[in-house]
Every structure is written in structure tokens, then in C-alpha cells.
């Protein structure tokens, strides 16, 4: 049985040479990212949850509502499922203005407080100025914001997003990501977000499900999943840890910000986030090195005492990935196998980390 408010998705699809078999439990709030290479079955999962495709055998239970249960011969058509769906490419109705697009679902969802719901969706996505326009006159980023607002206006129980940024260039992605973060932080609606981008995963995910060839390869809270080194989800320069922290201090003279996390704190470039705000830090393994004693007299600002937890060979035989504990948090370091051997790094050994660069994801 699923716990209160959470969702259960069990699907079995066989199509041509492809087989998808997943069994997922999603938390009641937050963003669950479905991550995987193209062809891994991410979009199929989303379409089956929406009822746009029909799994041969399936159970789709969202909170207390059952949308599909083949044992009970139950299958609700898409239009009877209270969901929001944001497609990869612009999917606005070209014959309607932005406002009429927003009202299309609002009207049909029969919300009691329609005016308020619409205003809230418009404000949440910042599209007040676009209401009169035709979709053809919007930029790619604006279109996706309208599409998200249109989905939200139906007050969905579950918001499904199928690579909503994939069709946009880098600048447009950066324009939309803050809005998505805002949705995550302000809405109670759970979201299922499909992507193959490590950047979106690190910024948005609370919970992570990794798909490979139609199977679930890993699932769990995002920080733990990213810090796994035995079977890394990300490879190459994307390997790194995710830290949840709070802005603790800002140094006006040197334009730096100190972010405290469970186990220590890190200095990074000040980007204007006020003291007390919750932020995410991404620390890539390639930017972390290890020293036996506390480092002095070098340009690297961030030194953290820590203990070695485990290690695993990296893709290239010359390198090793090392997992270290800093208080309650986990960080990853990529060092050469020769240093690993020379420094005699064993699990439990106390060492110092030098962190050369930290990315603030907010």
C-alpha cells in the first residue's frame, strides 16, 4: 500500500522490441525527476500516467485517486484525469490568444474559484503582459511559461512535464529555470519532470528516478542518488555532489557569500541572494582535491575537514572517485589513482578537502 498522499505508478508496456516495466512510488509534494538517455522510456511513463498511451498492465494511483487499474478493469480517459501536461515543444493552440489558451482548460476543469485560480497562475509565471497576444508572437520561453500556466489553471493533482526546456536555447533555459524553481517552492502539487539534462536535474529534483532501457536503475532523494559512486548516474564532468544549505553571511568588501550546510560552510561568489535564504550548491568532483594536513598559503578559499568514506574507480583508469563525509553531508572528489595510493587514503581516514569552485543553483 502507498502512504498517505503519495502516488503509485506501476506500468508494463511491450511495444516492438521495447519493454518498459516500472514500479514507482512518488512523494506527495516536490519534483520527481525522471532521468535517463533518450529511448529509456521516460516519455512513455509520462504518457501512460496521462492516459495518452495505454500500458498493457498498469496501476496509476495519484494520492487517493485511481486513474488506471487493470486488475479492476479501470482506465480513465485523459480528459477525466485531473492532471497538467507540459509538452516538449510549444503546444499552445495557435488559433487562440494567450488568455483564451489559459481559459481553455480552466473552463473545462469547472473550478469553483476560477478567477482567482487564473490570476494566481498568471502571477506565478509572470505572464501578465502577454495575455492579449497570439502564440505566434511569443518567444519560445514565453510559450512554455504560458503552457505551464495553462496546465496549472486546471488545478491539477499532478503536473507532468516532458522535457519542457529541451527545445529552448541556453539563454531561454536560464530564463525559465527560476520560474520552475518557484513552482517547486510555492506549489503543493507534485510534479513528474522528464529530462536528460544534468543541470536541470541538479537544480530542480527533490526526488530522482533513473531509467535505463525501460527499467528503474535507481530511485531516491536526489542528494543521496547523486553522491553514489559505485554506479554513478552522471559521468565525466557532471559527477558531483548536491548540498542543501542556507546563506549565512555576505561579505560586501570581497563580494563573497558564505553558505552553511549540515557539516560546514563554503564561500562562493556573491550573487545577491539574501541572508537566510535556502539554496542548493553543486560541487563537482573535478573541483575537489584532498590534502592530508590543513592546507595553508594557497589561493583556494574553501578547506573542509572530513573523513574518507569509500572510493571507486572512475571511467578512466588513471582516476579515482572518493566519497567523503563532512558532518552529515557527502561530497565527491576526483583525484588520480597515484595520489590516492601516495596519500594512503583508506575509509575512516581524516583528511582535508580543498574546494576550488562551487555553483549556486538558485
Amino acid at each position: 500500500m502507498t502512504s498517505a498522499g503519495s502516488s503509485r505508478i506501476r506500468l508494463h508496456v511491450v511495444r516492438g522490441g521495447f519493454e518498459l516495466a516500472v514500479d514507482l512510488e512518488l512523494p506527495a509534494t516536490g519534483i520527481t525527476v525522471l532521468f535517463g538517455a533518450s529511448g529509456s522510456g521516460k516519455t512513455t511513463v509520462l504518457r501512460c500516467v496521462a492516459g495518452l498511451e495505454r500500458a498493457q498492465k498498469g496501476l496509476v494511483q495519484i494520492g487517493a485517486e485511481v486513474w488506471q487499474d487493470d486488475e479492476a478493469r479501470l482506465f480513465l480517459p485523459t480528459w477525466r484525469r485531473p492532471l497538467g501536461y507540459v509538452f516538449q515543444e510549444a503546444s499552445l493552440f495557435e488559433h487562440l490568444t494567450v488568455e483564451d489558451n489559459l481559459r481553455y482548460g480552466l473552463k473545462r476543469a469547472g473550478s469553483r474559484d476560477a478567477g482567482h485560480v487564473l490570476d494566481a497562475a498568471i502571477r506565478l509565471l509572470g505572464i501578465e503582459r502577454l495575455l492579449e497576444r497570439m502564440p505566434a508572437r511569443l518567444s519560445g520561453g514565453e510559450r512554455q511559461r504560458v503552457a505551464i500556466a495553462r496546465a496549472l489553471a486546471t488545478q491539477p493533482r499532478l503536473l507532468l512535464l516532458d522535457e519542457p526546456l529541451a527545445a529552448l536555447d541556453q539563454a531561454r533555459k536560464q530564463e525559465i529555470l527560476p520560474w520552475l524553481e518557484r513552482l517547486r517552492d510555492e506549489l503543493r502539487t507534485p510534479m513528474l519532470y522528464v529530462t536528460h539534462s544534468a543541470d536541470e536535474l541538479a537544480r530542480l529534483a527533490d526526488h530522482l528516478v533513473v531509467l535505463e532501457d525501460g527499467r528503474v536503475k535507481a530511485a531516491g532523494p536526489v542528494a543521496a542518488a547523486l553522491a553514489s559512486i559505485d554506479n554513478p548516474l552522471l559521468v565525466g564532468d557532471d559527477v558531483g555532489a548536491l548540498l542543501a544549505g542556507r546563506v549565512a553571511e555576505r561579505d560586501a568588501r570581497w563580494h563573497l557569500t558564505r553558505v552553511a550546510f549540515d557539516g560546514g560552510s563554503l564561500w562562493l561568489r556573491d550573487s545577491g541572494v539574501p541572508v537566510g535564504h535556502a539554496v542548493r550548491l553543486r560541487v563537482l568532483a573535478r573541483d575537489v582535491s584532498i590534502a592530508i594536513g590543513e592546507p595553508h598559503d594557497n589561493s583556494i578559499q574553501n578547506h573542509l575537514p572530513c573523513s574518507i568514506e569509500s572510493s571507486a574507480p572512475d571511467v578512466h583508469p588513471s582516476q579515482v572517485l572518493v566519497r567523503v563525509r563532512v558532518g552529515a553531508s557527502t561530497l565527491l572528489a576526483r583525484i588520480t589513482a597515484r595520489s590516492f595510493d601516495a596519500l594512503d587514503l583508506r575509509p575512516g581516514k581524516r583528511v582535508w578537502l580543498q574546494v576550488k569552485s562551487v555553483a549556486l543553483l538558485q
Binding site: 496521462a50 492516459g51 495518452l52 480517459p77 485523459t78 480528459w79 477525466r80 485531473p82 492532471l83 497538467g84 501536461y85 509538452f87 503546444s91 493552440f93 495557435e94 488559433h95 481553455y104 482548460g105 473545462r108 476543469a109 505566434a136 495553462r150 496546465a151 486546471t154
Partner: protein
């Protein structure tokens, strides 16, 4: 030189026939085109071929079979007799049925192309916004297919105005009842009334040119609106 009463009657009848044919065709061609554009059924190819058949068949062949079908022993004739309407051959009703079948491909094809261009995505989007299939068809598919519908209407109208063989065989060229412009011109030529034939034939050339011009202008404009 002004047109004769007979000619005016033929013009009126032609416009009536073409308008009614267009109206009926839009109603029956739209669901056929919609189905053809989206289906994966094994009936797709045979139905598609059947709908296109009037495009390649000589009008006399079509007219001949229609005449047989509408006759007192034909399936259509038996039906209309049983309903108390008499037979359709050599009546305006028969002309209408003939025109609808003859112009069917001209209505189905533009709508089908428009539906194929729209693709299944807008209907999926509508479903995720709680629209029932029929609701989505009228609120999304039809408005998006509008250029195709307009093209279909114009082509059906023009093609009906321009038909000759089927009209002659099914209608019998009865003045005031089934004599349309094209058969009227034929009559004028048979009677060596070249001046009157010129008047009508010239009008037809002008009308057809205008229709094609309008179509190509509309296509250029809609191409600019499309992404």
C-alpha cells in the same frame, strides 16, 4: 447582347446546385478526412481509394452507374421509391447526389491534408485540458483545419459549377430543372448560338480564374501565419 431567360435560369440553378453540394460535402467530407488522416486501420487504403475514384473515372462512367442505381430497379431508386420520393434520375435531387459524389475527392483531400498537418498533438493537449473528444474536435481541430475547410469549400463549389458529363447523364439537361451553365453552353453551341455561348463561357473562365487566384493568395497568406 444580354443573356436569355434560359441562361439566367441555368445560372441560378448552377449556383443553387453548387452551394448545396458544397454545404453537404463539408458535412460529410470532414469526418471522412479526419478519419483518414489519423487512422491506422486496414480499411484506410481501400476507403481512401474509393473516395478518390471520382477524380479519375470518366464522368460518363460515374453518370451511367448513378443512373442505373437511381432507376426504379437500382438500390438507390428502390430506396427513394419506398420513401415515396419517386426516382431521382432527371431531377434536381439526382443532380445533387451526382455532384456530391463527383466532387467528393475535392472536398476530402484539402481537409485531409490540413488534418495531417495539424497532427495528433493538439488533440492530446486538449485532452490534458479536460476536453472530451467531440469537444476537442470542434474547439481545436476544426478551427486549426480552417484553411483546409475553406480550400475544400472553394474547390467543391468550382468543381460542381464546372461539371458536365455527370450532369448531362443524370440530369438529362431539362430546362429550368436540370439544365446548368455547362449544359446550357452545350445547347447553345449545338444550336449555333455562338454569341450566347461566348457570354456564358467567358463568364465561366473569369469565375474559375478568380477562384484559383483567391486560393493561391490565401495559401500564401496562411503560409506566413504557420510556424
Amino acid at each position: 447582347m444580354s443573356p436569355s431567360n434560359e441562361a439566367l435560369q441555368a445560372i441560378r440553378l448552377t449556383v443553387e446546385l453548387a452551394s448545396l453540394t458544397t454545404l453537404v460535402l463539408l458535412v460529410i467530407a470532414t469526418p471522412i478526412a479526419w478519419w483518414l488522416s489519423g487512422t491506422t486501420s486496414r480499411w484506410r487504403a481501400p476507403i481512401s481509394a474509393l473516395v478518390t475514384l471520382p477524380l479519375v473515372l470518366p464522368p460518363s462512367v460515374l453518370g451511367f452507374y448513378l443512373l442505373v442505381a437511381m432507376g426504379p430497379d437500382g438500390p438507390l431508386g428502390r430506396l427513394t421509391m419506398a420513401l415515396g420520393w419517386g426516382t431521382l434520375s432527371f431531377t434536381f435531387g439526382g443532380l445533387l447526389v451526382g455532384s456530391i459524389i463527383f466532387s467528393l475527392p475535392f472536398a476530402v483531400q484539402p481537409i485531409q491534408h490540413a488534418c495531417e498537418a495539424i497532427g495528433p498533438r493538439p488533440m492530446e493537449v486538449a485532452a490534458t485540458l479536460r476536453a472530451r473528444p467531440l469537444d476537442a474536435f470542434f474547439s481545436v481541430a476544426l478551427p486549426l483545419a480552417r484553411p483546409g475547410l475553406i480550400t475544400a469549400a472553394i474547390l467543391s463549389f468550382a468543381h460542381t459549377v464546372g461539371e458536365f458529363g455527370v450532369v448531362l447523364m443524370v440530369g438529362g439537361n431539362i430546362p429550368g430543372k436540370t439544365r446548368v451553365i455547362s449544359t446550357q453552353i452545350y445547347g447553345h453551341v449545338e444550336a449555333m448560338e455562338y454569341a450566347q455561348a461566348h457570354w456564358l463561357a467567358g463568364g465561366m473562365v473569369l469565375l474559375s480564374f478568380t477562384v484559383l487566384l483567391a486560393l493561391s493568395l490565401m495559401k500564401r497568406r496562411s503560409a506566413r501565419v504557420m510556424p
